[in-house]
């Protein structure tokens, strides 16, 4: 129960400690290899919310069907100390095999897939198509009054793409969240 106003200019008389000031936050991409067993995702997501950490993006799929291993990619924000805590806490979970901090461990490839639905007719269609082409998006569906474009890129490029398509009649977006893998011959958790 820390006093909220202790940070305000008026000097607080409270005997309780002020809320500690935190260092700057940074976003890290973590790759987590887990046993694909019931409840494993709830364990990870619950750990984040239970300890007050935020998840910015989360992607999960079974990547090794023989051994039932899933790979979870999480983008999360925190001070360096918080990111270290998150990694240590994740490693404590029994179904977690490996945790890699791709942001810390060198260069990596990051991709996200997005599907964008544009509703437009007539002359507007050419403009929409041109901007989609500029982002190397594929046209996966087209009707006289709509488009669905598929783009695969980094999350921030997808953000740009969404922004550019907005005035063309963007009505719906579906994004997968980030998938990421380290460059070179390094393997997760090494």
């Amino acid at each position: 129960m820390m006093s909220k106003d202790s940070t305000s200019t008026k000097k607080s008389k409270s005997i309780y400690a002020p809320t500690p000031k935190l260092a700057a936050e940074e976003t890290h991409i973590l790759a987590i290899l887990v046993n694909n067993e019931p409840g494993v995702l709830a364990r990870i997501v619950g750990f984040y919310s239970g300890r007050g950490y935020n998840i910015e993006s989360l992607t999960v799929a079974e990547t090794n069907h023989d051994e039932h291993l899933s790979r979870i990619t999480i983008a999360c924000k925190g001070t360096p100390a918080v990111i270290d805590q998150i990694k240590a806490q994740l490693k404590r979970l029994v179904p977690v095999l490996k945790v890699s901090d791709l942001t810390m461990e060198g260069r990596y490839i990051e991709r996200e897939l997005a599907l964008l639905k544009i509703v437009c007719t007539g002359d507007q269609r050419a403009d929409a198509q041109r901007d989609a082409d500029a982002f190397c998006a594929r046209t996966v569906d087209s009707t006289p009054n709509s488009f669905i474009f598929e783009a695969t890129d980094t999350a921030s490029r997808i953000d740009d793409f969404v922004a550019i398509m907005m005035p063309h009649g963007l009505v719906d977006v579906s994004r997968t969240g980030i998938a990421a893998i380290s460059k070179g011959n390094r393997v997760i958790g090494e």
Binding site: K13, Y16, A42, G46, Q85, R92, L93, V94
Partner: protein, 598 residues
């Protein structure tokens, strides 16, 4: 009888052929194989098959508590006082939800528990069936791990793995949720050696020798060192305490400990500074603040210990030994982290210290001790004696006196509040596993059931729950359990009629506004325990105290002592939250404490 035959088979033939049995029988078989002799529980519809199987065997003693919360704390007391895994058995729905506080308590205090919960049959899960609760969902954040067993052929493995997870690495509670149809179904039992487990779950226990050498060199060059130890030493087993004693004696360094580590180092020794932290001693906290090398072993820099982290021991290099990497750098930055078992680490430290023929800087150490003696001379636990009204500290000093004379092994549990802190300050803890208290969660109502668990494990020992009159009422129903099993547990109530610890904060930090902390309608505890079938005693003034304690000590029955103590005594020393170790207040300062700060 059946079980012995089976055991014979396994000893003659290491790879026993798979045995068919019901899920409920597998539970019992696995418990026996895991060395369980006592289980605390409460029956209900969803665990009837397991209770049926319990009825038909005589290897495991079941202790019937009066509320599931009591079963969990009793299992904690059993576990903490023996170093073994504690076991509880509860039914689905309300049985499981009543167990939650005990699970959360065991998680924060690193107590190894296995809690078996019944669940509605698999085909009813998710239908809002009678007494259905999402036990796995509810207990996920308050267990180290949990299992829902949906196939009887996975049950034995899950049982064995529960024990493995509960006791290995940083110990903690594990829930195994077993639907009723799985308890009935016939399936294959596998022994613990054949159990299929998470293959990669292997907590690191061996220390990195480079870090050890670095740490020991730092220790050898220290001018003002201090050992800061905690519950991790108890988790590491009795031998860890023996090694700690060797390490402390050989280095000649002062040592302090958290609430959870009391007993690992003998309190009667002169290198002992007493407990540190919010209600720790002046000398321990000042030594922590002014040290140049801090050797933390098995403690987790809890906020009750550090005070304001930015002012915590500002000039020291810090070594931190912990089996759980997430404890390191969590609250305080560490210079030399060692992720390993405390026992193995201290062994390695001693080896290096001896091999390199290190010796502490005697001159520096002498002047460090001189400073410590000045702090010690403050006599920070001193209190104002009264010749009529019993001071709570005095009551505990008298209890300590009688415990020291007693030939039996003495075990102490506590509830939560001022009495808990005074117990930590005034009772003698000279051996590990003798002090059971709820440190992390601070659960009122812990002490009585925990004492029952301790007494079950140590039938001939002297077991006392130091209680407050508010806390004791949270699990008072367990008096009946003590009666049923003829457990001569003692409850030593320091009755100040107030929720003293909260009252103290209201006095010092909330402008003396005593909001809802006075107990208006207290029961007559003497009559109450008599109604249960135990012995009730009361001391109302100093002259009555010794006789009453003596009578309690000599009594071989459940005894509740109602000690009427000074009503508004405060617990000192105290570091007000948000302050540093060197800003603690002692009892003579209390009246000078600026209450207008609020």
């Amino acid at each position: 009888m059946e079980a012995t035959q089976k055991q014979d088979k396994t000893t003659t033939k290491p790879k026993a052929e798979t045995k068919e049995m019901s899920g409920a029988e597998m539970v019992i078989e696995a418990l026996i194989e895991q060395g369980v002799d006592t289980i605390f529980g409460y029956p209900g519809g969803a665990v009837l098959p397991i209770y049926d199987a319990l009825f038909q065997q005589d290897k495991i003693k079941h202790v019937l508590v009066r509320q599931e919360g009591g079963a969990l704390h009793a299992a904690e007391g059993y576990a903490r006082s023996t170093g073994k895994v504690g076991c509880a058995l509860v039914t689905s729905g309300p049985g499981a939800t009543n167990a939650v506080t005990g699970l959360a308590d065991a998680l924060l205090d690193s107590i190894p528990l296995v809690c078996i919960t019944g669940q509605v049959p698999t085909f009813l899960i998710g239908t809002d069936a009678f007494q259905e609760a999402d036990t796995i969902g509810i207990t996920r954040p308050c267990t180290k791990h949990n299992f829902l067993v949906k196939d009887q052929n996975d049950l034995a493995s899950a049982m064995h793995e529960s024990f493995h997870i509960a006791r290995s690495g940083r110990p903690g509670p594990v829930v195994i949720d077993i639907p009723k149809d799985i308890q009935f179904a016939q399936g294959k039992y596998v022994s613990k050696d054949e159990a299929i487990m998470h293959s990669h779950y292997k907590p690191e226990t061996d220390p990195d020798m480079k870090a050890i050498e670095e740490a020991v060199e730092l220790m050898a060059n220290a001018k003002c060192p201090v050992f800061y130890t905690g519950g991790g030493i108890i988790n590491a087993g009795e031998e860890a305490s023996t090694l700690l004693r060797e390490l402390v004696r050989e280095t000649g360094f002062p040592i302090t400990s958290t609430l959870m580590g009391l007993g690992c180092y003998p309190a009667k020794d002169k290198q002992w500074l007493g407990m540190l932290g919010m209600h720790g001693t002046f000398e321990a906290n000042w030594a922590m603040h002014d040290c140049d090398v801090m050797i933390c072993i098995g403690a987790r820099f809890d906020d009750r210990v550090t005070g304001m982290t930015s002012k915590f021991s500002p000039d020291s290099k810090k070594i931190h030994v912990d089996i759980d990497a997430s404890s390191i750098n969590k609250n305080i930055n560490i210079d030399i982290p060692i992720v390993a078992d405390a026992k193995k680490t201290m062994e390695a430290m001693l080896n290096v210290w001896r091999a390199k023929k290190y010796k502490a800087d005697q001159k520096a150490l002498k002047s460090w001790w001189d400073r410590i003696e000045i702090w010690r001379a403050k006599n920070c636990l001193a209190y104002k004696m009264d010749d009529k009204i019993i001071k709570p500290q005095y009551a505990l000093e008298r209890l300590a006196h009688y415990m020291e004379q007693d030939k039996r092994e003495c075990y102490v549990t506590t509830e939560v509040g001022q009495h808990q802190m005074w117990a930590a300050q005034f009772l003698p803890f000279n051996e590990p596993n003798r002090f059971m208290t709820s440190g992390g969660l601070g659960t009122m109502g812990y002490g009585l059931p925990a004492a029952i668990g301790v007494q079950m494990a140590h039938p001939d020992a002297f077991v006392v729950d130091v209680a407050g009159e508010a806390s004791i009422q949270m699990n008072i129903q367990e008096l009946a359990t003590a009666i049923q099993y003829r457990l001569p547990v003692k409850v030593f109530i320091l009755n100040n009629e107030w929720m003293g610890m909260v009252r103290q904060w209201q006095e010092l930090l909330h402008g003396e506004r005593y909001s809802e902390t006075y107990s208006e309608a207290l029961p007559d505890f003497v009559k109450l325990v008599e109604a249960y079938g135990g012995v009730g005693l009361r001391a109302t003034c100093v002259d009555e105290l010794d006789d009453v304690i003596e009578e309690m000590m000599n009594n071989d029955r459940l005894t509740v002592v109602d000690v009427m103590v000074a009503k508004t005594e405060n617990c000192f020393p105290m570091i007000p939250s948000g302050k540093a170790h060197n800003e603690m207040i002692l009892s003579p300062d209390a009246s000078a404490f600026d209450k207008s700060l609020v």
